[in-house]
């Protein structure tokens, strides 16, 4: 049990790190993009650049929340 807990703890630390908001800021635009792809927009040449802009906007939101919570470390 201790090993399994340690195993998941290691991978959580490694992938999510000390700021889960970054992981969420990546996943939200990609889940929305997946929705578009599953609904027949996979051939749209506009979808990739729109998703890139959405990823950037999502990162700005995550960073803003972090700066508000921790003005300086």
């Amino acid at each position: 049990m201790k090993f399994i807990k340690g195993f998941f703890h290691f991978w959580y630390d490694f992938i999510i790190g000390d700021d889960w908001k970054i992981a969420v800021s990546v996943l939200i635009p990609l889940v929305v993009g997946a929705g578009f792809v599953l609904n027949g927009f996979e051939d749209s040449l506009l979808l990739p650049p729109i998703l890139a802009v959405a990823l950037a906007a999502s990162f700005v939101v995550a960073l803003s929340i972090d700066v508000k919570q921790h003005p300086s470390d």
């Binding site: 990546v26 996979e42 979808l47 700066v67 300086s72």
Partner: protein, 270 residues
Amino acid sequence: MGSSTDWGLAISVFVAAIVEMVEALTIVLAMGMTRSWKSTLYGVGTALVALTGFTAVTGYALANWLPRSSLQLVIGVLLLIFGLQWLKKAILRSAGRKAMHDEARIYQNKVNAAAAAGDKVRFGLDWFSFVVSFKGTFLEGVEVVFIVITFGLNANNMPVAIMGAVAAVVVVLLAAIVIHAPLTKVPENTLKFGVGLLLTTFGTFWAVEGLGALTPSHTSLEWVMSDLVLLPILAGWVLLSAILVKILKVPADQVPVIEIIQPVSVREEA
């Protein structure tokens, strides 16, 4: 190796591996110089064996079990998360909102922690220095392995990616042997900014392409301009980072510094 893509691949992996190696080296030096070189080197050796196994299994699984688009999605998401975490820290450091990564201070904190730790001995080894050096080497090493595997597989040139990482290991080890102290002169924050931008750019490109894994044909999504779109994506992240640094900038006298943590005995005397 001759094309500009090969050089770009090798340089990307080399720079990323340098950053990770410098961090691992700081931990190893602190343990070796204050506790036990024998136990520290056993920790490093065990971590290298574990890393070799991890690399073989992960590399084989990624290359053989996943279709190309799924591979792009998985590694694109990972690169985006790693890249944006590095970018966030680099932006906050450049804006003066986070203490600069200072190897000398981190080294001192590790030394103080080593001095305060107990003298537990297991299997004839100083357990504290063994565990700390194992964890430090393995964690930093796994990041390098991920970068090598993802860049190597996607550029279809694993040997060049491995050469980039090996060159970084050799350079950092040689520098450590010559200087015999933490590598404080490496412009780590600047390198991290660059690597963060690079990982984020490739992560954006591959994660979006990889969404094609959800289609019945599992064909990757198409970007306008194909691979050349990497340049405008990189330019976009550079521009956004510069704007964020400017907006978040704080006066120089309010910039935080990494606090040196004193061991209990020193704190009591002070």
